[in-house]
Amino acid sequence: MSGFVELAKTLDWSPLWISLKTGVVATIISFFLGLWAARKVIKKDYRAKSILDGILTLPMVLPPTVAGFFLLLIFSRRRTFGIFLNDTFSIQVVHTWLGCILAATVIAFPLMYRNARAAFEQIDANLVYAGRTLGMSEVAIFWRIVVPTAGPGIASGTILTFARAMGEYGATSMLAGNIPGKTGTVSQRIAMVIQDGDYVTAGFWVVIVLVIAFIMIFLINLITGKRMKNVRKW
């Protein structure tokens, strides 16, 4: 135990902050993007819906390294779009924190999108119609009726998105790399120290990750729990 305390004192804590920051930013982006995409998709007819749904869900189904490969193809500073971004806006994605965010967002976004879509589809359309006949604007209907009513589904989607974004490894390692203090996330640090045979440090990080994971699960249950009370056992 005293070894752990000693370790905590000398440890480079930067991976935790990088992971948390990445998780928060990627979740915020995914949140708005996911709600927006979900709202667009449920308005489409069946065909367009299936196609769009497939595309938007793809990053979740693909191995993260494959997603990372595509991201590298797009953002590499040796390729057209990467060059354009660098020359015009001085934006660099590869091997930067922006790369961490991008990789995490792409991988975690489908969780937000799918949860939001499922929650929206459960909503009684009459609520929206009632809002309209009462003269409420579409924006007001969305933020004051639809989102609150879909609240539990959206909340659990947000938490899952955050968890996934924080733990992202495959695409991040390819796009952002593992630069200590810059793009070195917790997941990457664990992989790295294990390669060095430092199981104590790895174990320390694992404990931290487990604690965070339990907090996440607890939060989800807390938010969706109220609904579960009315579920009949079978």
């Binding site: 009684d124 009459n126 609520l127 119609y129 009632a130 809002g131 309209r132 006949t133 009462l134 003269g135 409420m136 604007s137 004051r144 009726i145 609150p148 009513t149 609240g151």
Partner: protein
């Protein structure tokens, strides 16, 4: 300026909605079975449902006109819509629900909303969530939410179907009271003839997407005009007829010849007779009588339905007996004949 005009054409797959509702009555009823297109008609008037072509006008304003490509958004129609399930916003308090249609949450709007709740005897419930209210209370909130926006037309979509039967009766009376001070037009659709009889001044009967009969409520019930409308107004007994002369017809399914004082138009090929209207006859046969040969009795809490054999095995006549009449039957036994009163014979096209 109280005049509703709704000419609506809409095709969905195999279903064809083609209705014309024109009325300056304050209380308009639309009667129809489920799937007849009555809710779709209401939704089209409110602008929730798209319409292929037609013209909709209410409160002196054109809401929809396919010729001039006018199609006001539901937000701009100023038409109140009460949904079957009331569609109260589940995450908002009762007060917030009523304020939802008023725009900004100003103090003035707050007062307006709580005054309206008071009028509907829902004061004290402002902070409750809709899920904590009974069905009847939810309905009052839904109506308050509509009334506070001062609509020019109110549409009620099966307003009582979500209520328990004991509450339904009370809310029907209450609804009439609550709408008492409202001077715009109200349209109610229902599959229940009782609800609509109580509520409407003018009735439109909708069947398979078309209006098959309309008119003043009492007229429509007295003279439904066609078999489908008669059935929807509660008539249970029908027979095909063969005209013998202008005043004599043979009710082919019942095996009885009827003599009528009024002239039977050529277009009439069916007659209807309401189950409550038979007159029992003991002893000898009179004119316009069927033999009272009971095949089955159906015991209901406050009435008995006797089923009388006819020429058609599968369709016996239904004779409903209540109260005093039942006591006479208990005393004298079943009658020998049932007489059809001339005024109650429905001539149907």
């Amino acid at each position: 300026m109280k005049r509703l005009y709704a000419d609506i054409h809409k095709r969905i797959d195999e279903f064809d909605l083609d209705v014309l509702i024109e009325s300056d009555a304050a209380r308009i009823g639309i009667l129809g079975e489920s799937g007849s297109g009555k809710s779709m008609t209401l939704r089209s008037i409110a602008g929730i449902e798209t319409v292929d072509s037609g013209h909709v006008e209410a409160g002196g304003r054109v809401l929809f006109d396919s010729a001039s490509k006018t199609d006001l958004k539901p937000q701009k129609r100023n038409v109140g819509y009460m949904f079957q399930n009331y569609a109260l916003f589940p995450t908002m308090s009762v007060l917030k629900n009523v304020m939802a249609g008023l725009g900004r949450a100003t103090e003035e709007n707050r007062i307006k909303a709580s005054d309206m709740l008071k009028r509907f005897r829902m004061d004290g419930f402002e902070d409750k969530l809709p899920g904590e209210l009974s069905g009847g209370q939810q309905q009052r909130v839904a109506l308050a939410r509509i009334m506070v926006t001062e609509p020019e037309l109110i549409l009620l979509d099966e307003p009582f179907s979500a209520l328990d039967s004991y509450l339904r009766d009370r809310m029907q009376v209450e609804m009439l009271e609550m709408l008492d001070e409202y001077d715009g037009q109200v349209v109610m659709v229902s599959h229940s003839r009782d609800e609509l009889y109580r509520f409407s001044e003018e009735l439109f009967i909708l069947s398979d997407g078309h209006i098959i009969r309309h008119g003043e409520i009492k007229d429509v019930f007295r003279e439904p005009g066609n078999a489908m409308a008669a059935r929807l107004t509660g008539c249970k007994n029908f027979s095909k007829i063969r005209q013998i002369d202008g005043h004599t017809v043979e009710a082919a399914d019942w095996g009885v010849t009827l003599k009528l004082k009024r002239k039977v138009p050529d277009t009439v090929h069916c007659i209807g007779y309401r189950a409550h209207r038979f007159e029992p006859v003991w002893g000898g046969m009179q004119d316009n009588c069927v033999k009272c040969d009971v095949v089955r009795v159906d015991d209901l809490p406050f009435e008995k339905n006797y089923y009388i054999r006819t020429l058609r095995e599968d369709e016996p006549l239904c004779w409903s007996v209540q109260g005093e009449e039942q006591r006479i039957i208990d005393y004298r036994g079943l009658p020998d004949y049932l007489k059809l009163a001339e005024d109650d014979i429905l001539l149907l096209e």
